[in-house]
């Protein structure tokens, strides 16, 4: 059995803010094997994007990471920028959330894809142009040949996101990180783009880390998922299992809060009471304590350790027996 492609151990990130140091990530650990898909779900502010940025080595200047990120056996934290540059784009590709601003408005599409190709694969200008065309056709951008010389403002949001995907895959990376790739797109496009990503990931045999706040996106597309809250992974396990058991109170509340078709008219949308705490204000102990309906005093004493719920499936909660006993 191969060593895992990505091994994150106890990743912590502290941000220096005006109000003092704030813990953005408080000890995140997970593994990803070649060709596997992993989902990261949580509300905004839970640390999922910071995790992605930490993997890419693109954290903001005021961020201090600690712990370990091993990619294909190589430790990434503390690696100098030149070495990271060789990995970025070539071995790890990333798709971002905002297609409208992800491309340089002054450069043509062809040039922006070509940049990656010329940098890592050392293609000549002519070769990279041909390859860029092939990539655009692969991501199913209509009228690809003409689009090579177009500028981003001439493309729609969905088309720009296809270009971003093409750029991310241009050098055939081993790992694709997709940070909310469809959040900024119309619902009708979301499915198409996610399907496209799935297809390409499978074809190339890449590992994928898919980040979203949408449970529906996770349900169909990733083998395993991590539920994040307050900078911690509160539940992790195979997707089907997580959905089946809804072990952690937050997972359960998240599931209950999603809008569904077919409910009787006049049903109120369920919400989770309270709001996500500011990073600098996260209390010790379980980060979800203030909003949890199963909370007891012990919850606030210390961060609950992961408790196994099933094979390769655990949740950080000391009240699991009570939670699991209740109907969903």
């Amino acid at each position: 059995m191969d060593a895992p492609l990505l091994e994150v151990s106890n990743l912590r990130v502290t941000l220096d803010t005006d109000r003092g140091p704030a813990d953005a990530l408080r000890g995140v650990s997970f593994t990803l094997n070649r060709g596997d898909t992993l989902g990261l779900i949580g509300e905004s502010g839970c640390g999922k994007s910071i995790t992605a940025l930490a993997l890419m080595g693109l954290l903001p200047e005021n961020a201090r990471p600690a712990g370990s990120i091993r990619f294909d056996g190589q430790e990434l934290l503390g690696l100098d920028d030149t070495a990271m540059c060789r990995l970025r784009g070539a071995r790890i590709g990333m798709v971002f959330q905002e297609p409208m601003s992800a491309l340089n408005p002054l450069h043509t599409i062809g040039r922006q894809i070509g940049e990656s190709l010329q940098l890592h694969r050392r293609l000549s200008a002519a070769e990279s142009r041909a390859e860029a065309l092939r990539l655009l056709e692969r991501v199913r951008l209509p009228d690809a040949a003409r689009r090579l010389d177009a500028h981003p403002h001439q493309l729609s949001g969905g088309q720009r996101q296809r270009v971003v995907i093409a750029i991310a895959l241009a050098c055939r990376p081993d790992l694709l990180i997709a940070d909310e790739p469809t959040t900024a797109l119309d619902v009708t496009l979301q499915r198409e783009i996610l399907d496209l990503i799935d297809e390409l990931v499978r074809e190339e045999g890449m590992a994928m880390l898919l980040i979203s706040h949408d449970l529906g996106v996770m349900a169909e597309r990733v083998q395993r998922m991590l539920v994040m809250y307050g900078g911690t992974v509160v539940e992790s396990g195979p997707t089907a299992e997580v959905f089946a058991r809804l072990s952690h109170p937050y997972t359960r509340a998240l599931h209950g809060a999603r809008p569904r078709l077919g409910l009787p008219r006049g049903t109120r949308l369920a919400t989770i009471a309270g709001s996500v705490p500011e990073l600098a204000d996260v209390p010790p102990g379980c980060p979800f304590a203030d909003r949890c309906r199963f909370v007891i005093d012990d919850c606030r004493r210390a961060l609950p350790p992961p408790v196994p719920v099933g094979p390769a499936h655990d949740a950080r909660c000391i009240r699991l027996p009570v939670v699991l006993g209740e109907p969903k």
Partner: protein, 316 residues
């Protein structure tokens, strides 16, 4: 692009026309009797009448205006009352000083400002950034003519590397002439660079925060590659606009600096013309300077459109 250009050109020509009308109205019509103003209170009525006839001031205003503009378009200018030669000759002579001065100042400004601005942005939140900001505050607060005087004090009086003013002309070799223009260009450039450095710094900082810079880094481009390939070109857009707007300041500064260093340029010409009450010279030179500002703004507009494909698309 074609439609964009034609629109811009019409605006350019219209602005020039309006500028010329304003200059004409202010300098020929407002004073009432221009000949009287030019000759001063000691003139006799006969002298005034004679001058009026020579300058054609007894004709109706509209005709005078058209004659003036018509003459300019054909390259003809009136004869200066105080110098006795056509204004065009005077201007051509003085341009030999003012043009090189302006070019040197622009080059110095651009080099200093871009270097300092990028340096400050790269050292944001650290000592380098603070240093540049303090320096630029000083540059903004110091009057250009005072800086010029201080430079003269240091380099001419104390160190005696250059003379305290004057211009030797281009005929004895280029170097003495350039040497005479160095301090003036520096005095001009320092103040302009202070403004431009701040603009460059904030433009670079803002662009660095854009999403597409993050995409470029995610592709594996080094910081330097991202700076040159993505940040600088995009940051140049606001910087270029400000540079264009600053041209008017450059002209103002040049007028002042030429007087500080006693350089025989356009600035000194207009100044002496005022002292001599030579409205003919003032009129033509002021129009020339205003026209130059309008021209530069026009060029900047066009350059802007060439650099940013979004603009020409919008007007097309």
């Amino acid at each position: 692009m074609g439609r964009f250009l034609s629109k811009r050109i019409t605006t350019f020509v219209a602005t020039l026309a309006v500028a010329s009308i304003v200059v004409f109205v202010v300098l020929e019509l407002l004073p009432g009797n221009a000949a009287e103003v030019m000759l001063g209170p000691t003139a006799t009525p006969e002298q005034v009448a004679a001058l009026q006839r020579t300058l054609g001031l007894d004709r109706p205003p509209a005709q005078r205006y058209l004659d003036w503009i018509g003459g300019l378009l054909q390259g003809r200018t009136a004869v200066s009352v105080s110098y006795g030669s056509p204004v065009s000759e005077l201007i051509a002579e003085r341009l030999q000083v003012s043009l090189p001065l302006a070019v040197m100042a622009m080059v110095l400004t651009t080099v200093i400002a871009l270097a300092l601005g990028v340096y400050a942005a790269a050292h944001h939140h650290r000592a380098g950034d603070l240093g540049v900001m303090v320096l630029s505050q000083a540059g903004l607060a110091v009057p250009s003519f005072w800086l010029a005087i201080l430079l003269i004090l240091l380099f001419a009086v104390k160190l005696q590397w250059v003379s305290a003013g004057g211009f030797p002309g281009w005929y004895d070799g280029a170097w003495p002439a350039v040497k005479a223009l160095l301090l003036p260009a520096l005095a001009l450039a320092a103040v302009q660079a202070a403004i431009l450095a701040r603009v460059t710094r904030s433009a670079v900082l803002e662009v660095s925060r854009e999403d597409y810079v993050r995409t470029a880094r995610a592709k594996g481009l080094s910081r330097r590659a991202v700076l040159w390939g993505h940040v600088l070109r995009n940051a140049m857009i606001p910087v270029l606009t400000i540079m264009g707007l600053q041209f008017a300041n450059l002209i103002t500064g040049a007028i002042i600096v030429e007087n500080v260093f006693v350089l025989p340029g356009i600035g000194r010409l207009v100044f002496q013309a005022i002292a001599n009450r030579d409205l003919v010279v003032v009129r033509d030179v002021v129009l020339l300077l205003a026209a130059t500002v309008v021209l530069v703004n026009f060029v900047v507009d066009v350059l802007y459109a060439l650099i940013d494909p979004r603009l020409s698309a919008r007007d097309a």
